[in-house]
Each structure stands twice: as structure tokens, then as C-alpha cells.
Subunit: 229 residues, 2 copies
Amino acid sequence: MTDLLWGRQQPPSRGPKPAMTLDGIARAAIAIADAEGLDAVSMQRVAGELPFTKMALYRYVPGKAELVAVMTDLAMGLPPEHPERPWREALKTWALDLYAGFEMHPWLLLSTVGRRALGPNELTWMDRGVQALAGSGLNGGEQLDSLAVIAGHVRTIAQQSLTLPGGTTGTTEEDITATLTEVLSAQAERFPSLAAALGTAAGSENQGLEFGLDRILDGIELLITARKD
Amino acid sequence: MTDLLWGRQQPPSRGPKPAMTLDGIARAAIAIADAEGLDAVSMQRVAGELPFTKMALYRYVPGKAELVAVMTDLAMGLPPEHPERPWREALKTWALDLYAGFEMHPWLLLSTVGRRALGPNELTWMDRGVQALAGSGLNGGEQLDSLAVIAGHVRTIAQQSLTLPGGTTGTTEEDITATLTEVLSAQAERFPSLAAALGTAAGSENQGLEFGLDRILDGIELLITARKD
DNA sequence: TGAAACTGTGTCCGACGGACACAGTAATGT
DNA sequence: ACATTACTGTGTCCGTCGGACACAGTTTCA
């Protein structure tokens, strides 16, 4: 698994030249996932996009889980380059870049659940994020934990606001808020605080991302300045 | 779907009495998921635990997705009761209670991805959380967004530290950190900040949960006190 | 010029979710 | 009382999935 993700495979000396590449397979799979969701990615379907049969893919990938891992790291890509900035701005743009990645490939929300092997691109994202906090005075664990909070928040908001195409869970946001307000109006006495909060909540456009980020960064800043003294 | 979750089904007048209950089915499914992971929950398997056939379940549940939804809300349960406390402590114990829920049923991390219909228990959790911020001076949207940040962080940490039984993604934490340190020692120059951070990171026991929570709550407190002036 | 190693293919399997028709059962209307 | 109606649980069947395996064709090395 790790070998696959990190491209550690010595090319064999004998035998016919491979007609496909792992990269090409993963790209085909990514195209399917982007268009129709991760559930639409089956070995048959991927092979169908390429002029090969299903079983030929297994010469490049041990199984579907590994294919998804390769897809994931490839789709994540490298984080965009930015000029050097103070840690807070750097972290904020890092988070917005990450959100843009989820926006481009919503199925990443599904393929990155649970503990899994990390690929080079994903590790580069982490490195870039930690880099922003390198001179902050926080120790390594605190830097990693801070980054986890931010990445987790980006995930949360992406999960709330993005529509996964084709997924069985693909409920429209209007649909879900519609049933929510319906239930809440019918049983307002059962969820009084929630009903009140939803009542005074304006049509919150994606301000949830910014709001949470600012809170988190405020909290981190508080710790950093406290450390500096 | 919503009808199922909220128990809105009028009992039919004619015909044989149902031999099962939706609740019983969901409990059997939860037991399987707890022991062997969510992937082990198939209609066949659930029916096998009960003295009935697979197709009999479809008299109670339209499909597997709905079964998972019912399982999810049931396993989430109601949030524990706590005496009234200031908002910050209330939110913190709310978060710890939520984490305990994920600990008890790790598959909830998988079954609660993406937008989906919310059940009564889950809504009660939300209500309880918002309740803590009711008198804080934040408006409804801010209360909901704050809660989302906290819940998202709990999810993130749970995802990092909990092992999903039976899952294909079930890699051990030691295993994953082992390959991580192996890769980082081999290519330290490629991920300098990350390598440095991991170097100075002590064996971070689940302090990630507390750390992030404190940062987030600090950030929220900052906003609240700023509002109060 | 074999022999060895590798590629792509075809066939087969078990498990999955689910459609559908069927027999049995309980309440209803006449 | 009895037929009708509505419901329950069952058995059979289908398409799709991931994947094991044997096989034929192709390239390279001894």
C-alpha cells in the first residue's frame, strides 16, 4: 500500500511492456468519481473507461482499497504555493485552499474517513500547514494538533455544504433544511433552543467556514501570545 | 425516511401482527456493527441474528440506507443529563459526551458522513448543545456555527484515535505511525517542518481532544466577551 | 533456442441489495 | 357465517460487486 502511494516499484526487466500506468488508471477513476460519485467507481467501470478489462487493473493495483488510496492522494494534489506570510494568514489561506480541494473533489470526504496510509501529496499538505506554525513558539505536538483542528473544521463545513454527486446520501440542502424546519415547527417544544437558534439565524451562506476559522485562529493566537510572554 | 426516523407510522388495522419491531432490528444491527464494524452489517447478517429471513426485514425498512439511518439515531441515544453550568463547561462536557458516544460506537463516524436526515436523538443532541449558548449573546447562526466547530473537532479526533473494527481501513495506529516515521526519516528533507514537529512531539496521548477544545472555546469566549461590551 | 517472467483476458465464485410472486393470517364488510 | 381485503413472512431470481485463478501471448535473459 505504502509502496503504491509512494511510487516505489522497480520496473520488471522481462515480459511485455505495461500498456497502462497507475496514474492513468487513477485519473480515470477520479473522473468517474467527480462526475458520478465515489460509489460509481467500480473496477468494471474504471476498466470500461479505458480500453481494457477489469482484471487487467489488478496488475497495477492489488485491490480497490488501494486504488481509492492512490486516487485520493492524486486528487488532493499539491497545495498551492503562496508567498511567505504571518502564520495566521498562512493558515487561513491553507484552510481555504483545502476547502477548495474538497469542493473540486467532494468524494474526498468519503475516501478520507478513518485512519489510512498517507500519500506524498497529503503529507506535503501537512508539511505546508505545520510550516506556518514553525516559528510560532508552539511545540511540535501543539502545531500538529492545531492543524488538525483547522483541517477538521474544513471537513465539517465541506460535509455540510457540499453535495456528493450520485451518492445515496445525496440529499439536497434545501430538502434537508425543509424537513428540519418542518419537524421543528411541529415539535418546537421538544427542541426549544434549536428552534430559537434557527429562528434568529439569517440565511447563513457559507459563512460557517469563515466563522469557525476565525474562532479557531483566535484561540490559537491566544495561546501563542501567552507563550511569547 | 423521515417517517421512519421519527416513528411516524400508523399501525395497520388488518393482517397478522408483526413479529418484529423496527427497534429490535436496529438493535441487532447495532450489535453487529459494534462487534465487527459497519461493513459487516448486511441484510442477510441482520436477519441471521434474528429468527427471520432477509426479505422479512424489508417489511420494516425500505432499504439498507434507511436501516443505517435508524441505527445511527438509536445508537447516538440521548445526551446525558447534566446540572446547569456556565456555557463553557457545559459545552466542554457536551463535547466529551459526544466523544464517548463515538468511542462506544465507532461506526457512527462512517454512518454520519454527508448530509442526511436527522433523527430525534441527534436533534436532541443539537438542542442540548445550542442550549448551552442560549444566553451567551451570540445570535442563532453563531450558536449553530460554534456547535458545528466543536462537533467537527470531536469527530476529527475520534477519527484519528479510534479503531473501526473489521473495517478495511482498520489499520492500527502504531502501524500507521510506524510507516509515517519510516517515510519521514527516509525523506526528511522533503517534509522538513513536519519532521521537526513530529520530532518535538511527545507521545501525545489523547490530549488532542482537550487541546483543540480549549482553543475553540477560547476563541468563542473571545467573541462572547467582545459582544458583551 | 529454450526457459523464465510478465501482461492482458476469460471464466468462475460468493456476497451483496433488492424486485417480485406466493402462501398464510387476521380483521373487516355483508 | 363467510368472502374480501390487507397485511406478514418466505423463496426464488436478478444484476453488480470485488476478487481468485488458469491460460495464452509477449518480451528478455541465460
